[in-house]
Amino acid sequence: MDKQNIQSESAISCKSINKKYDTIEALKGVSFEVERGEIFGIIGPDGAGKTTLFRILTTLILADSGTASVDGFDVVTDYKEIRKRVGYMPGKFSLYQDLTVEENLNFFATVFNTTIEENYELIKDIYQQIEPFKNRRAGKLSGGMKQKLALSCALIHKPSVLFLDEPTTGVDPVSRKEFWGMLKNLKAQGITILVSTPYMDEAGLCDRIALIQNGQFLKIDTPKNIVNQYENKLWAVQSDNMYKLLNDLRANELTSNCFAFGDKHHVSVSSEQLSINNLKETLDKLGHTNIEIREIEPTIEDCFMQLSQK
């Protein structure tokens, strides 16, 4: 990139961004910085404000107040510069359904004054997987192939910052892992990536994450630090009757909260009075059999639930 703005170290910088739609406050004072070369994850459920944030940063809508810059350029005054240097993959498939795979890619390359050949190296690993279908219309592709084409189109002008809005929503666990593998490769080539996801298990694949709910960031940090800051002890509990176990654990006055987590229940314990042995005895008296309790490290989902209940 020739016109790099050297004033700013950050790839993305947001200060006190607010956005309202009628009476709904979509973003309430969001501030954060993304460093160059980072994979930064915005993690939270639908309706939390993720897409609104992406649209402001990609200069598609204006914030009501606050300032933001991308690659050193202001999202309001320098929007044309930003559009040249970012790649954006919206949550909804937005390529031309009636153009072929190759025509779509060519179109985006041309719009950005480049050619497929010039930046082929960057998209090679991804595009090669769909190249056998380059004459197929985009609308006739499967979900996984559409995703790969959209990513190729977002990359074809070698952007410095890549915005991916829920690229893995509705995608099966195997394809999701593959997709994150591709992001790692892009990071290795120096591209900054801002990615949003509702899947909490993807948090660990980001350098840093922001947990977002109801238009506010609950926390910004590395996944590891967020896990380390979990406030209580966390135990995984199992017995033969999991439904009864959930109710019994919740009824116990010494537990803070309890949620089902796959084949175990996660019980958050703040009280010093309760030990694993105490709880085992209590559950035994309540008629539970094959009780197993052990202390575990929280997942990002445990942390999200604790933070969102504050």
Partner: protein, 254 residues
Amino acid sequence: MEKTIQHNSNKVIIAENLTKKFGNFKAVDNISFEVERGEIFGFLGANGAGKTTAMRMLCGLSIPTGGKGLVAGYDIGKQTELVKKSIGYMSQKFSLYDDLKVWENIELFGGIYGMKDQEIKQKTDELMRVLDFESERNKLVGSLPLGFKQKLAFSVSIFHNPQVVFLDEPTGGVDPITRRQFWELIYDATSRGITVFVTTHYMDEAEYCNRVSVMVDGKIEALDSPKNLKKQFNANSMDEVFQQLARKAKRVDS
């Protein structure tokens, strides 16, 4: 209408060599399984494995090209309207009408399924109480948070007390706490004898099912309780089981 095929009343879904071909492409390739009354049956598979096609057949929306299936005792190839009357359906994509109020949605769906006005009114009151939704009754569904909407959509899908409810990725994008509350609603429905057939991409949710099947390239590659599947595949979680199976897929559709 007479039920033309004998069925065991404890089996709410029976699929025998069920197949759907589109031209030469076998979207669903000879699948057989049974689902017991009151069971939570998880129907897993990678994108493109054939889940949606299979589910559409079981809901009477697509006619099999081979094999047969019974849902709630009705033939899914010949008695599609009776099948539709006996089931409930909800998905992440289609659930309720955003521009109708909460009570209007309930009345609409209750009416479509032929419920009496009095019954609709009474059950609506009950539902609002159970969901703690009284203050939302007159709100447009579009104005509700997604989690509320999905819980309401599920309740509406079983409002007419169907024998079986089909849930297609019902919790996609829902926040973690609401996702768990949603599953508690599912448990509650099964305790009242409703059978649940559910697809999900959250592998922790696969653990909540009584039994789980995993489809790969149109075929059912594994079917058992989560506990037994983990044993069979020497895995610690259903995610590992899924990864092992789905990586075998040969279809380019991924």
